[in-house]
Symmetry: D2
Subunit: 335 residues, 4 copies
């Protein structure tokens, strides 16, 4: 049994703690949060102890691995500490909002060969993964176009915005990673437009976007479109479409159940999609833990690691530059 400590007991940390506790080959070793009552609550729920400090977790001989779900500015530090302590780490995205800090972190851990997994959960979604596998299995021939639709059900609170680093680094970063996962080839060119259609005053104030469209192109010419919106009245909208020479595969949205209603005004009316990430990607978050446990058990590099976190951030930087300059930005310009 792999003893995993969880740092960060907010919404996503609590979810990870429950998933670790329920995993057949892992146990929840301890939890930590800067806000002690949050840690206490999660600890009580699972009957584990609360660590006094993050440092104590990294030092503990009762902890085999660490899951980092704390605030973004701590991620790079904790990754470095985990590597220093020789403990495998599963860290929520992003590594950092600053590419410079990410590069410094990369330097700090270079050559230490740690087991670092990044929390790009969507790669573990059964649907999105099956879509990628279908391409690998040749079920659509040569891949030509990818379309990623990714829309949040609503605007997050203002406090969230202030910490999140903007639409491209916070939300689209998942889609950039998903694009790399599905294309199985690095994008070379990035084009982006950002809009302020939902709450223009707030977006202007924060110099951020609430609505965006992207086009990526790989060296071999594969094309990828991403669209983002901070509003999707009908639930969390997470779709992937892959067009190839002999076919297409689509990974669609999930509903809580398969009810359809028919009346004089409509047919086949279904219920709204699962509300947000914890529900929509619940299987993915579970599978992510499983993949981490397996990587640690086998002593192999996780399927999605530090470099993937760095590359997704670089795509976000290129997209920001593109949106500002109204032109294609080459990834090599910002790398």
């Amino acid at each position: 049994m792999l003893r995993i400590a969880v740092l960060g007991c907010g919404r996503i940390g609590r979810m990870h703690a429950a998933n670790v506790a329920a995993h057949p080959r892992a146990t929840l070793a301890s939890v930590y949060d800067v806000h002690r009552p949050s840690a206490d609550e999660v600890a009580a729920r699972h009957g584990v102890k609360v660590a006094e400090t993050a440092e104590a977790v990294f030092a503990s001989s009762d902890v085999d691995a660490v899951l980092v779900a704390t605030a973004t500015p701590t991620h790079a530090d904790y990754i470095e500490q985990a590597v220093q302590a020789g403990k495998p780490v599963l860290c929520e995205k992003p590594i950092d909002l600053s590419l410079a800090r990410v590069e410094a972190c990369a330097d700090a851990i270079r050559g230490k060969n740690p087991v670092i997994q990044l929390g790009f959960n969507r790669r573990f979604d059964p649907g999105h993964r099956a879509a990628r596998d279908a391409v690998r299995a040749g079920e659509i021939g040569d891949l030509h176009q990818v379309v990623i639709t990714s829309r949040d059900p609503g605007m997050p609170p203002r406090a969230y915005y202030e910490a999140a680093g903007g639409l491209f680094r916070d939300m689209t970063i998942h889609d950039f990673d998903l694009a790399r996962f599905l294309l199985e080839e690095e994008p070379e060119d990035v084009f982006a437009i950002g809009g302020r259609l939902i709450d223009a005053p707030l977006m202007n104030e924060l110099n951020d976007f609430d609505t965006a469209m992207f086009v990526l192109r790989t060296a071999s010419g594969k094309q990828c479109h991403i669209n983002n919106s901070r509003t999707s009245a009908y639930g969390y909208d997470q779709r992937v479409e892959l067009l190839g020479t002999t076919g297409m595969v689509i990974s669609g949205n999930r509903k809580p159940h398969e009810i359809t209603h028919f009346s004089a005004s409509h047919t086949e009316r279904a219920v709204p999609y699962l509300e947000f990430f914890a529900e929509r990607y619940s299987e993915a978050f579970n599978a992510e833990i499983g993949a981490f446990v397996e990587a640690v058990e086998k002593g192999v590099a996780p399927e999605v690691g530090f470099e993937d976190g760095r590359k997704a951030l670089i795509l976000a930087e290129a997209a920001l530059k593109s949106a500002a300059e109204g032109r294609i930005v080459k990834v090599s310009e910002v790398e």
Copy 2:
């Protein structure tokens, strides 16, 4: 070009006339209706002449074949006249509401080897036919169960009821024929219940049903369920489901277009189904004319003929007996 005269210029006759006129290898020869203005209107629409009597149509050397879409009590007479005149006939269902009259008609035309096609249009629906073809092609293995859902969008006017001969002989007769078409084997046992759930006073007065369920069984044990209702708020509901040892095939409903709507209260909401038979089965009505033209051209027996009309009526008789007696009725009991 096959010169086809149309007897009966009501709703369904007008539709047939237009389909005949549009067929590349047929022309509309003339039309007739007991209500002269109806015939005049259709004749003007297509630039053809109005026949003074039905007898004149059968006698005319300008008419190669006759399509009978008049009131039910005239069907058997016109079939006999068509056969007498040596003209192929496409006759709307049913042959007659009385099995005795149908048998008499059978006797009258026996040995004359006429080309008689019965208007069981659903056999020509591209979806239902593709379902049957899938079974024939072995795509679901051995057929075990058939489920036919057949619901009219609303109650017909009282006058219709008085002429129609009751739910089983008027509406279910299509489903009985469809069951025979899909099972490709004769039902031996019939079970039926009839309900009065929509307009009980009227149904009691007419000794009729507005809602019904049926179970048929063939000699080899294949099972078939039919459900009927005179109300289907969401449009004409016409579905067929075939279960076999290696799979299932479903022929579903048609919508006028493929719009879906999404909001905070629903997803994937489509528009109501096509309203009624003329729209839902427009391709089938066309294909039916095509099959008739081809049968006449080739001088072969139509795919669906007099005997099919007789057998469907026998199933309706068996179902009426079953509903009255609360037991399985063998088809041989009423034949």
Copy 3:
């Protein structure tokens, strides 16, 4: 926390044990199985102790409630013992294969006002329940017809058949309960046909059926069709359709993910449905535990109790009589 012991550590008992262990307001108290290694395995998995006998479980002061997932012939005994011991019990269906034994059990526990929940899990399926709720909310007007499709993915092993009591008492019993749940009115008339289409030699030997169709009718005339098959190549097929005066609601099947594939030979091809009950009804099994915990906490009668188990068995008896005699059987004939 409600301390629940689980009797029976077979496939379904193991699932229930895990669900109890994961429930936030319940704990797994202990487990028992006549086959000790099965109990040991489940106990080890959850870190609980193994009871030596079922009697020890009922006697234990560490056990607040008992979940019975043992072989059918023990159900009625354990229900009686639970009631005797004053312990709430959640018992898998059926109460017994013999209606006489069920009635004797009813006599034995009469007046003791116990908390007894029957394991009719489908009532807790989010889709089926939402369909029922839609009817209650008036979303389809007056209910007229119910169609229940219920097909197992494949034939069970011979040993299963020998213990299960036949298709109607083993498999259809779930559908009979679901029909009562959805109709919200007692069926008065039952009609059934049973077929031997999948494995006729075995079915003949066991005097059982592998394929069946049913029609039920309530006092007010509502109609219900059920179809059953022991083979459904495309996965566990569990659908419910409710037709009313102003609309229809359908609760459909679940897929493991929402992938669709498109090629030169097809479009919109999805993956097979969830394989069997543990996967298809996983949410229902969880919700069932939750409903039991809540009933015990509140000291109220469970939503689905002993009488529901008895009534479903009576419908099975009526259906057997109907299949044998080829006629509608009134429920009052077998009650």
Copy 4:
């Protein structure tokens, strides 16, 4: 009855001729084609006469209006001749491949107030139009994003390429018009990438693209993505998606019938989509004729006219410039 002559008896001209002939308020007056046998064939099919020259058609007092379905280089000339002759004209898209020629044509007909309808048939598709109407009716709140998927089933023959003027002016021009129709606001910014993924040698030789992605932006910030491919193994792929503040509406693809197939390897497998434009947009082509007839009858400007043809071509020019320069091109740069 409006007497309409059809110029051009190729694939699309033949279809238009049949639609004109079948329209209840129009008749086919005559047909013309530079390739006389083509004209003869269509004339014989509909029993009309063949015009010796296009000039004769414009001069004829038996012709009320002209439908131009000839080769693209003749369109602008025929529009000018029709206007000169005072005859309403329905002209296939594009007006011309050269923007200069289009502007010259605009100059030539200015002030003559002719009835000119452009053949942007997709505006008349029942699904796409219902989507636009839903937006107008406020059913999705404020429109934010439009996604147009437009993929041809396969590569056209080489001869077609040589005449067609390239992907953007030939194929995307429909999508540019559809974008303007759906956005109900002029795009100001255009971004495009073109790829050579299907037949790179041919595309290199012709300096054309077979695969492309576009992003448009209107003055108010609305965003529109278009994707194009010359290969779509699963049939003609024509989808429109509109996202607004309170919902989304999608206009999807049409299948020839509603068969779905289920087996051990799949569920819900449908048949390929309608193969190409004549089938997929058959209702749209019909409605287009109807709209033209109505505009002529009422003496009003057609819903889609010369200026729409000019604007769509300008978007194509902007897109070509964008693809060449890797940057957003303002529509005002090429206008």
